[in-house]
Amino acid sequence: MILRALFQIGILLVLPPFLLGVVNRVKAIFAGRQGPPLLQLYFDVWKLLQKGAVYSRTTTWVFRAGPIVGLAAVATAGTMLPVAGQPALFTFAGDFVLFAYLLALARFATALAALDTGSSFEGMGAAREVSFASMAEPALFLVLVVMARATGSLSLSGMLGPALAPAWRAAAPALLLSAIALFVVALAENSRIPVDDPNTHLELTMIHEVMVLDHSGPDLAFILYGASLKFFLFGALFVRLVADAGIAGIWAAEAVFVVELIGFAILVGVVESVMARLRLTRVPQMLVGASVLSVFALVLLLR
């Protein structure tokens, strides 16, 4: 029991940067480049942790608190997420509301840190981040309530646990629609193409990256690591929803889960490689579309 809990925390803490390495490797292959090593993000985080940080004269403690609160909130949200179908460390009715609000807390802290610099670019990034998030939030909640209704459970562990397989047999179309919506939300929440380009170098067009322009050193390490953690959370939600392998043994299930997560990273890499970025004014339409899809799913489920 304790061993399994430790293993869950271990996966949660160690695996995320690797997934982003996979995404970048896939994008590099598509572009005909060799690409950075798969473990590049670990190196980056390690290197940044050794460095000093530079702070703007304008900033206050809010700027320094942003990366800390952001990382802590995302990591805490992770403790409620079941890994490989096993119950999460903490599980209770309505835990997904707290899950979503912890992500909102992380966003709030990051946006305030961005505004604290007084830079117009970072203000713009913060405005975009909270605006697009507000469109993604209803979609995320709709996906979660579809899963809750289909499995008859109000906790993430129950929704993604053994009740999921019978739910797929009973309501496959609804779950499929909500899975698509969840994928769109995952792309938006993690600043991926077609919503945002994590590699862009033009401040005017960026969303998430422009918010953290002024962060450096260990603070930037916290932010990079937190972003990979968030990617992991959405990936874990998604693969569990669509690929419930039904492996009996715990360790085998964990292994399959890791493989599935790598598959998710490859999928995101492919999407990022074959799609262009949407114009900023198109992004809301895509996110509202995700909400509409999940409303359809709800109607299918409740008819």
Partner: protein
């Protein structure tokens, strides 16, 4: 009952200090504030026992008023709202003592102190009156007192206009309440609330009519959309500690009235609950969207009050609908969440308005665009205000999240328990709408915090701002402590919510809201983990490098000024233009620079409220036109007026005579 009366007496004595010491305004202000704080402390101590199991107490005094009796009653429902009143009044009054000092000698202080004390007494009497006539008298005194407070700064045209709108709206609302109480009184054969409550079993003749009258009358005071139009005018106009009382407590008397009314009416059907829920959720959505267009920090906070009252009414509606559909657990969650949110909103809105007051004094403007960088200049006030804004955005682990979480759980359980597809869909769509409200609130409050508190100062006044000292921030600290403690330890406040919910007919409340219920230990543990991780990361961060100081990265631009900062209106523009119907967006006046040698360019946005511009303004214009034709009969000549009186008398006599003839 005796300590409660003592509290009222202290408050009334403080009010009288106003006219008695009008010659010495500074002393009047001090005496009034001390009395308000002391009276509120005594009052708080006197009502809390009723939430912890004391039996309801009654007081009936002989009163010469026709129709009514002087009947006060303290039961859990009354005590619950009074506790919010006194808990906000203590810090607000203490804050007011310092906040009003600059006005001493410039504005008449006697009337202000009188009205402030009267407002506290009147709100308290509204909440404890157990007689229809007494209730209406207290209600009217409350309205007049708040009118005097709202128009305190009546040298400004805007303030006078706000006062007028407030007065008209309040009295239109009160007219509905007169009709409501007259109908209730006729059916019950008297105006005592005991008789009204007896109606519940007997069944009133037309519950829908009584419900509608109450919804409009109380809804106007509570600020439900579209009856909210007075609120964003009046609350920013008042001095900030008064705004804190008005927004934090006074508008809740509307919610209190609705809840009382539910106790008089026979059990209502699901449809009434759905209607209340839809109005509440609609109010919340519209109001939180309208906050995005406000350039005035206090107006934005006033709209946020409309949003929060909407959430409270959503919970009440959920409780009514679930009670009628036979889901006692959902009903208890809805009512528990609504009541808990009443307390939480009183604390967080009190905190936000007091903090905004300090910012307004510091920046000499209510305009967000004239603030900026105030956290660095007012570190304590700024930090406490950040707590308030975070609570308003329902961030865990603060108290705003705790009460919204109960609402979420209620809706989710309603959806899970729904037998038919349609009712499940309604509940789940409400969950999504609630999530949208929460996400828009995040835009709104990062905007206020970011533009007012963070970044570079946007005006010379803001750049020179300084903290006023402990008297300025201790009241805020008290309220902030409430926001944090209620979020971390909701068990204690929920124990006091329980008897109120039980009184309102939520039989399952004790189990659902108790420590073994929905608000169990598990969410607390997660919050504990969050705090532990934050502390751990802070400790880790301290051991890592840092320290160099430089200018903000200007993307190669070498001479940044504060005018290049992202503004409040740009911040919300991305959301407003993408998703919001045109009616809810601010109106944009753009004079773009043209040609090779452009002359002047100008850009201005005006927030507009569709309830005002599309509904009430045209309505009142038409009414005004029609009514002005009656002017002719009101010539102002004495003989004509006497003639009217005579005609009326003759007509009445004729009616009496005819009724005798043809019974």
């Amino acid at each position: 009952m005796t300590p409660y009366l003592a509290a009222l007496l202290i408050l009334a004595a403080g009010a009288l200090a106003g006219p008695l010491l009008a010659r010495r305004p500074a002393l009047a202000l001090r005496v009034g504030s001390v009395a308000a704080v002391a009276g509120s402390l005594v009052g708080l101590a006197s009502v809390l026992p009723f939430l912890l199991g004391a039996p309801p107490a009654d007081l009936v005094l002989p009163w010469s008023e026709p129709l009514g009796s002087f009947h006060l009653r303290l039961d859990p429902l009354s005590a619950f709202f009074q506790a919010a009143l006194f808990a906000v009044a203590v810090p607000a009054s203490a804050f007011g003592a310092g906040y009003m000092k600059p006005y001493v000698g410039r504005r008449p202080m006697g009337g202000f102190v009188l009205a402030y004390g009267l407002l506290l007494v009147a709100i308290s009497l509204v909440l404890s009156a157990a007689d229809g006539v007494l209730f209406l008298v207290a209600w009217e005194v409350m309205t007049i007192a708040s009118f005097v407070l709202v128009t305190f700064d009546d040298e400004k045209l805007q303030v006078r206009r706000a006062g007028f709108v407030f007065l008209v709206a309040s009295h239109v609302g009160t007219a509905f309440l007169f009709a409501l109480f007259l109908l209730l009184g006729r059916e019950a054969g008297g105006f005592d609330f005991v008789r009204f409550e007896a109606l519940r079993g007997a069944g009133a003749a037309a519950p829908w009519l009584l419900f509608t009258l109450g919804l409009v009358g109380f809804g106007t005071k509570a600020g439900l959309v579209p009856l909210h139009v007075w609120l964003p005018e009046a609350h920013p106009a008042a001095p900030s500690h008064v705004s804190a009382l008005l927004s934090g407590v006074m508008i809740k008397t509307g919610v209190y009235g609705l809840l009382r009314l539910l106790g008089f009416l026979p059990p209502l059907g699901v449809g009434y609950g759905l209607l209340l829920g839809a109005i509440g959720l609609g109010s919340a959505l519209v109001a939180i969207t309208l906050t995005l267009g406000q350039g005035d920090i206090k107006r934005a906070l006033a709209y946020s009050s409309v949003e929060n009252v909407g959430l409270v009414v959503l919970g009440v509606g959920l409780a009514v609908a679930a009670g009628a559909a036979g889901h006692p657990v959902v009903a208890a969650l809805g009512m528990g969440g609504a009541l808990f949110h009443v307390w939480n909103h009183a604390l967080m809105k009190g905190l936000a308005f007091l903090g905004a007051g300090t910012l307004v004094h510091a920046a000499h403007s209510q305009d967000l665009e004239k603030m900026g960088g105030l956290l660095a200049r007012l570190p304590v006030t700024g930090a406490l205000l950040l707590v308030g804004l975070g609570t308003l955005a329902a961030l865990p682990p603060l108290s705003g999240f705790a009460s919204e979480w109960l609402l979420y759980l209620g809706l989710l359980r309603a959806g899970a328990a729904a037998a038919s597809g349609a009712s499940g869909l309604v509940a789940y769509l409400a969950v999504a709408a609630l999530a949208l409200v929460g996400a828009i609130a995040a835009i709104s409050f990062t905007r206020i915090a970011g533009v007012a508190l963070l970044g570079e100062p946007r005006s010379p006044e803001a750049a020179a701002a300084r903290e006023v000292g402990p008297a300025g921030w201790v009241p805020l600290a008290l309220l902030a402590a409430g926001c944090v403690l209620f979020g971390l330890f909701p068990a204690l406040p929920l124990r006091m919510v329980t008897p109120v919910a039980v009184q309102l007919g939520m039989g399952e409340a004790a189990r659902v809201l108790g420590p073994a219920g929905e608000m169990g230990a598990a969410p607390r543990v997660v919050v504990g983990v969050l705090i532990a991780v934050v502390l751990g990361l802070i400790a880790l961060r301290r051991r890592l490098g840092g320290g160099a100081v430089a200018a903000t990265w200007g993307c190669g631009f070498t001479a940044p000024t504060s005018r290049m900062e992202y503004t409040a209106s740009s911040y919300s523009q991305a959301f407003l233009t993408a998703l919001v119907p045109r009616a809810l967006r601010p109106r944009v006046h753009l004079q773009a620079p043209r040609g090779v040698f452009p002359g002047k360019g100008a850009f201005r946005t005006d927030s507009q409220d569709p309830a005002r511009t599309r509904l009430f303004d045209p309505l009142f214009r038409v009414l005004g036109d029609r009514m002005s034709r009656l002017r002719r009969f009101q010539a102002g000549r004495l003989n004509l007026q006497l003639l009217y009186t005579l005609i009326t008398l003759v007509a009445l006599l004729a009616m009496l005579a005819l009724r005798g003839r043809f019974p």
